[in-house]
Symmetry: C2
Subunit: 441 residues, 2 copies
């Protein structure tokens, strides 16, 4: 009997746990679910057969190793900085390792040892990274098998609201880690277009968007992610003239978000100490020049080129022009902004989130250049059973299941770009309605 260990029973583990706990009822395996809140772990397991909740404190290496020793295979759903520590334990104790997070340099340093010990370590097997790799590689491999050449590959993904839950002017709420949303895009974004290397600094990023139409859903816009260039190697497209990966938002979001960026409100590098009792309006005014005669609204219009009513309204809806008291007066600008947004951008119980992904390929075929769109739009059930948790957790759960079933027979350090990994997982995801629709232009 094989033993699966999941470290972390938080919100993002829900579907992963359900899938693997259910599998223990039918298959010869057991599941240990470890969390610092053992009651939370117990609740998620619902007393299913061959499952067991365990107390686990990630800061105690001794008990962590004892727990890992009991398992054959470990899934880390801990914060990203913990993965290399868990992976190192797995390596020493001879256990397989799975995560939905980025393959880090620390992980890559273990590559040779992983191979020598015949272990299987799989990272980036969630949504983004995860489903993006798998769905893209399916098209790339298929083209290469036909002897076709990929001329251009642009890929965008966003964690958004289902249209029916878009009840504010931003058409946005936090469906994932708010801090990551506030800091998104910082640094300089890099990609390649028609053979030209392109670099976009943070303060230009949200004004350099591309527009997309999703049938039945309306307009979205995408901005380039920080590093698209490294994906040339990941996808085996070293000489591709155009490669860009980006993030999708609802049309109009980026123009308004750009105001926060341009004013410096997303800066996380220093601490502000505003007087107690400061208001939203004070916070906004701190990023505008002093003026004897102009109002906050007028100064904003002077600093922000082409400020239109739709954009102004988004700030107004959040209360930035009001004497409303700030939820916190000290912290970095990004922390204060996050506290403001969390008040108005939190999902209510019934809100549904939505995952949208769009690959656009230009492929040189024997008959000419083909433009291929491949899209996923996936809507969640409610604010607990989110599309985000499902699309992150299911690919990982399926990968673990397939590995234990020996439908994936590999060893070494991997991300799901190999056909023998992505093909069975994509097929299994289709049973859950996670399916890409393709059309040619």
């Amino acid at each position: 009997m094989k033993t699966i260990l999941i470290l972390g029973a938080g919100k993002s583990s829900t579907f992963l746990i359900d899938y693997l706990a259910d599998s223990c009822e039918q298959k010869d395996r057991r599941l240990l679910l470890a969390d610092i809140e053992i009651s939370q772990a117990e609740a998620k397991l619902q007393g299913k057969k061959n499952t067991e909740a365990r107390y686990f404190n990630s800061e105690d290496p001794q008990s962590r190793r004892e727990l890992i020793q009991e398992a054959d295979l470990v899934i880390s759903m801990l914060p990203a900085f913990m993965h290399p520590l868990v992976a190192r334990d797995c390596l020493e104790l001879g256990k397989h390792f799975f995560s939905a997070s980025y393959e880090s340099d620390a992980m890559r340093e273990m590559k040779k040892e992983i191979e020598e010990k015949g272990l299987f370590f799989l990272n980036e097997c969630g949504l983004d990274p995860g489903i993006d790799h798998m769905s893209a590689m399916k098209i790339i491999d298929s083209a290469h098998e036909k002897g076709e050449e990929i001329l251009s590959f642009k890929s965008y993904c966003g964690g958004l609201l289902a249209p029916e839950s878009e009840d504010n002017p931003w058409k946005y709420k936090f469906t994932w880690n708010p801090r990551n949303v506030v800091l998104a895009g910082q640094g300089t974004s890099r990609y390649i277009e028609k053979g030209e290397l392109k670099f976009i600094p943070y303060h230009q990023l949200f004004s350099r968007t591309e527009e997309f139409q999703f049938p039945g859903l309306g307009k979205y816009e995408g901005y380039p992610n920080r590093d698209s260039l490294s994906y040339r190697k990941v996808y085996g497209l070293e000489n591709i003239p155009t490669l860009l990966r980006g993030t999708l938002r609802r049309s109009g979001f980026c123009k308004a978000w750009n105001i926060f960026v341009l004013l410096g409100m997303t800066d996380d590098s220093f601490q502000m100490e505003l007087p107690e009792g400061s208001t939203y309006r004070h916070f906004l005014n701190a990023f505008l020049p002093w003026s004897e005669t102009l109002s906050v609204e007028e100064k904003l219009a002077e600093i922000i080129p082409n400020l239109d009513f739709e954009t102004f309204e988004k700030l107004q809806w959040l209360g930035f022009f009001e004497a409303r008291k700030l939820p916190k007066c000290s912290g970095s600008p990004a922390q204060i902004l996050q506290a403001i947004l969390e008040k108005d951008w939190s999902l209510s119980r019934e809100d549904k989130d939505m995952i949208v992904m769009r690959h656009v390929f230009e492929i040189q075929t024997a008959k000419g250049v083909k433009k291929l769109h491949s899209s996923l739009a996936y809507i969640g059930q409610d604010s607990v059973y989110t599309a985000m948790a499902k699309t992150v957790g299911l690919p990982l759960a399926i990968a673990v299941d397939m590995f234990l079933e020996e439908k994936i027979k590999l060893s070494g350090l991997h991300i799901p770009v190999l056909k023998e990994i992505y093909e069975p997982i994509l097929t299994a995801l289709e049973d859950f309605g996670i399916q890409f629709e393709e059309y040619e232009e």
Copy 2:
């Protein structure tokens, strides 16, 4: 006989060395000048009486301590990160310490020990920091003695070109460390105006300038330095409604420099790898969107709001629109930009630099609010005997001289904001023509 040790015989030490070496010919003291290039140290001492050049490798702590052991007083002209190490040696060996650099946190941690040992450690005794503190504190103390209140203090300083040497459209060349010029202003600038805390992110900084007229010299513009708020404590002006410190540039400079900032060309956080043989035009184009139809010039005009001919001409003069080969194709954007600028912004032998400083005070007097301007404009001899080297080196040399003469009788950790320090130094600087002119508005 007292022994002075100067660590570092580089360009910025010239006047410091001359002044103190001359003093050894008349006074009962000797000077050791230590540098990794002993021949350079020898050349600068010109065989003056009671002076001696020494070989010194700053990376060898043992020989550094042996050298310091020989001295009564040490002046560090080494790179800033070395100061705390030298100061720590001085503390252990019971030697006084002088520098023209910022008093660091590492230095402040030694404060109590410095006091206990009765040593004198003086930092920030150059130009900026240095002369700025001294000239400002003279006015502040004078107002306070008269029972007047300082309502507003804005202070700007710039290392620029003498008007007669302004032979390019930027009216600028490097008269100091080029890397610091390229990276100047990064982070978020903070100041207070009419009681309102103000924050300006880097990408707004060069468009939020104030204009100044210098009689006989023409128009200059200033942008706020990174942290003005901490100077409220330094100057004993904790409750001042307006305090701003800034950097001066020639009128029009900031608008053009802002293009580099807005495009991301001053980013030092990642490495670009452009193909060998890339041109200035390629470098510029890497920061502009791809377009099938628009030229580099047209794309620039789309990205940069209100691009005027004077600004365009500055970029053109540097060769950015030409197929001229880049001096280097890999490095951070800031490093590549610096290499470009060093080709065209280097001082020729006869070029003269100029230091400009301007304090503007608003003071509540018995008769009403007085607006007081205090200005320094100081022109160098040539590209070796620069105004920058002189205004940095002389205050430090004078401070050392006065301390040895017991005209400054202090112990502890200081910057030159005390009357007993700044008064004799400012008086001595006047003999060199380094003198502020005041006028009331």
